[in-house]
């Protein structure tokens, strides 16, 4: 059976991809952010996951408002990015793992999660930037695992509740642990932390709330399910609702986790950037 090694969260700001392209890791603006990653790299090198389940939120590339799935799971042989309207570099495809995707979909629908399955899915910066952060040169990295993308809707309300996100993760964890292959899996939760791009409150960041979330997500994620969705918009900012991805990731890890590293830095672009690596009990 497959084993979940742990989960890694990170912000997925498009400007990070640009900074990587330009090699700005040691630039004074970027250094406090990129300093959060060497420990993650070392952990990945040590454990070498075979699969990566990348939980992100599409921002208007893979999905539009004509059909907006609340939870979508990629089931393709490969995943391509696009320029997203900004001329982002188009990368070679990320290898998929359709047999694992369908196993997850079967298991989760049996557990009463209604999934949209996607045999074609363009992946945006929410998926790509974390891959580039964790596997430098991705997808051209010799350790690049095969990927299963999972996208949750945070574009249009109603968005999932924090409880639903955590429960989704629990069902995902069950699905992964029943995959009949000796394989190691890492789960990403990308996005956040607090930020708001739109409106007269644009630029809003909430350090205190982020610290509360960071603290509780490690050992007491149930506590965070008390936060209502409107409270999340109010306290994390309109786009800080991406914290749902962290909740989904966390649910999959089980009760006992060990924190390997964390980083928190304000600001990167318009965002409070957070990184967290949690290892599952063996």
């Amino acid at each position: 059976m497959a084993q979940i090694l742990g989960g890694i969260t990170t912000s997925h700001i498009p400007a990070v991809g640009n900074a990587i392209d330009k090699g700005l890791q040691d630039d004074p603006y970027w250094k406090p952010f990129f300093d959060g990653y060497p420990k993650v790299h070392a952990w990945i090198k040590e454990h070498k996951p075979d699969y990566v389940v990348n939980i992100y939120n599409d921002h208007g590339l893979g999905f539009f408002l004509d059909r907006m799935p609340t939870f979508a799971i990629g089931a393709a042989h490969e995943y391509r990015n696009e320029d997203e309207g900004w001329g982002l570099p188009e990368l070679p495809p990320f290898p998929g793992a359709p047999e694992l995707s369908w196993h997850i979909i079967e298991s989760m629908v049996e557990d009463e999660f209604d999934i949209t399955s996607c045999q074609e899915l363009a992946v945006d910066h929410g998926f790509v930037v974390p891959m580039q952060l964790f596997w430098p040169g991705a997808p051209n990295n010799p350790d690049m695992p095969r990927a299963v993308p999972i996208s949750a809707n945070t574009v249009q309300h109603p968005i999932p509740t924090l409880k639903r996100a955590l429960d989704f993760g629990k069902a995902l964890g069950k699905a992964l642990r029943s995959f009949p292959e000796e394989a190691k899996v890492v789960i990403l939760g990308t996005g956040g932390l607090s930020h708001q791009l739109d409106g007269a409150r644009a630029g809003f960041i909430n350090k205190e709330f982020d610290q509360y979330c960071l603290k509780n997500i490690v050992s007491n994620p149930e506590e965070l399910t008390k936060i209502s969705r409107m409270e999340l918009v109010e306290k994390a900012g309109a786009q800080g609702t991406e914290f749902l991805m962290w909740m989904m990731m966390r649910g999959a890890l089980g009760d006992e986790v060990t924190e390997i590293t964390r980083n928190y830095h304000i600001p990167i672009s318009n965002t409070a950037a957070g990184t967290l690596l949690l290892e599952c009990a063996a």
Binding site: L65, D83, A202, S269, N270
Partner: protein
């Protein structure tokens, strides 16, 4: 009696909750912007913005907000920032530029405001 059983609207100053109501209002504007994912559509808009807005059936208020570079106006007209970001891309505006435009700050002032929250 109205049962407020949903986690629905609370008033958050300076924040528009992009829900079904806003998504319906903004549909043609957002659809046009979503299609800017493709370079040929960006070129089409650049060559003939009025014709392009007509083709997507934007309402007059939406067209005027675009003519005026009025981001808050676009949001009021149902624009969603993730799609509007692709329109901003055509004009080479960063999210800090867009943040400044919405809050009456220069780009530098907006960046200083972000850093002040560290």
């Amino acid at each position: 009696m109205v049962q407020h059983s949903h986690d629905y609207h609370i008033d958050i100053p300076g924040t528009t909750v992009f829900d079904g109501r806003m998504a319906m209002k903004g549909y043609p504007l957002n659809k046009m912007c979503y299609d800017f994912n493709r370079a040929e559509n960006r070129e089409g808009f650049r060559a003939d913005p009025e014709g392009w807005m007509e083709a997507y059936g934007l309402r007059e208020e939406q067209r005027q907000a675009i003519r005026d570079n009025d981001i808050l106006g676009m949001i009021e007209e149902g624009g969603n920032i993730y799609y509007l970001a692709k329109l901003a891309g055509i004009f080479k505006l960063s999210v800090q530029d867009v943040g400044g435009m919405q809050t009456g700050r220069t780009r530098e002032e907006f960046q200083a405001f972000l850093a002040s929250q560290a």
